[in-house]
């Protein structure tokens, strides 16, 4: 027999009952895992199109005669994006130590590096000298790099929200108090890893 009065719980709890949790993984983390899983399949389909165009359609020379990619510019862009992963990791390490200035600085630096990456890529598009409709090489190049650029844009949006919330003091050192940084961080690292693959396959190999 409980010592608590029967109506005590009714006064403590408001709203609908708590949702059943059938997984040890936090629902928000599980959501980003499923999302990233779907993203890997999406990128996989684009890579498949690239390999098909390269091996089956083009056959021999890749890129075709007259088409050149700015490899060194893309390499610089790769370094920028990899650096942004370090600043993202620094931001999360800072909030775990309750160092809010480090969190804000890390997130802001990550945002600025990501924005620089995107602007350089946009500038690269204007200087390439070919359009997506010219041939299979051009189509797959713009499709893969454009798809990745769209993901960088989404990551920047998430980072911007995290910056605003961190300035308002929404995050704390406890694990459940900085999921709003952890989840964009996981997504940002995924975008970074994906670019490393895109750079290697599209620009180098």
């Amino acid at each position: 027999v409980s010592a608590v009065p029967a109506d005590a719980h009714e006064h403590e709890h408001h709203g609908p009952p708590a949702a059943n949790v059938s997984s040890r993984v936090d629902a928000r983390l599980l959501g980003i895992y499923i999302f990233i899983g779907s993203e890997i399949m999406l990128f996989g389909s684009f890579f498949t199109a690239l390999f098909f165009a390269r091996v089956i359609v083009a056959g021999g020379t890749w890129p075709p005669e007259g088409f050149h990619l700015p490899v060194w510019l893309a390499f610089v862009n790769t370094c920028i994006l990899v650096t942004s992963s370090f600043s993202m990791h620094w931001a999360l390490t800072s909030i775990k130590r309750n160092y809010r200035a480090g969190l804000i600085a890390g997130l802001t630096l990550t945002f600025l590096l990501g924005l620089t990456f995107l602007l350089i890529q946009a500038r690269e598009y204007t200087r390439l000298g070919f359009s997506p409709s010219e041939n299979a090489f051009a189509s797959t190049f713009y499709a893969l790099t454009g798809l990745h650029g769209a993901h960088v844009f989404v990551g920047l949006s998430l980072l911007l929200m995290a910056i605003v919330r961190s300035v308002r003091g929404h995050y704390g050192p406890a694990a459940h108090d900085h999921l709003g940084v952890e989840i964009p961080g996981i997504y940002w690292h995924f975008v970074d890893v994906m670019w490393i693959v895109v750079f290697t396959v599209v620009y180098v190999l």
Binding site: N20, L29, V82, G185, H189, V204
Partner: protein, 77 residues
Amino acid sequence: VRNPVRTEGEAFSWVLAAVAVFGTIVVGALLGGGDVALGMAVALVVGAAVGIYLSREPKEREPAVWERGDRASGDGS
């Protein structure tokens, strides 16, 4: 197989691993050409996948939902 991306820190380690693996492939491409790089890419990716599969096996099997008792109480923690 254990989830290899449980935290941001683990995701960051994937970035470092990708830099190491694909950096090696890029160096291979510059030194030996596309065929050498392609061979290295296949070998490294397959090797890394097998290594992850073998090394990340958890020591204890995670209990099923119906075996957890009060841990599946719905508090989300």
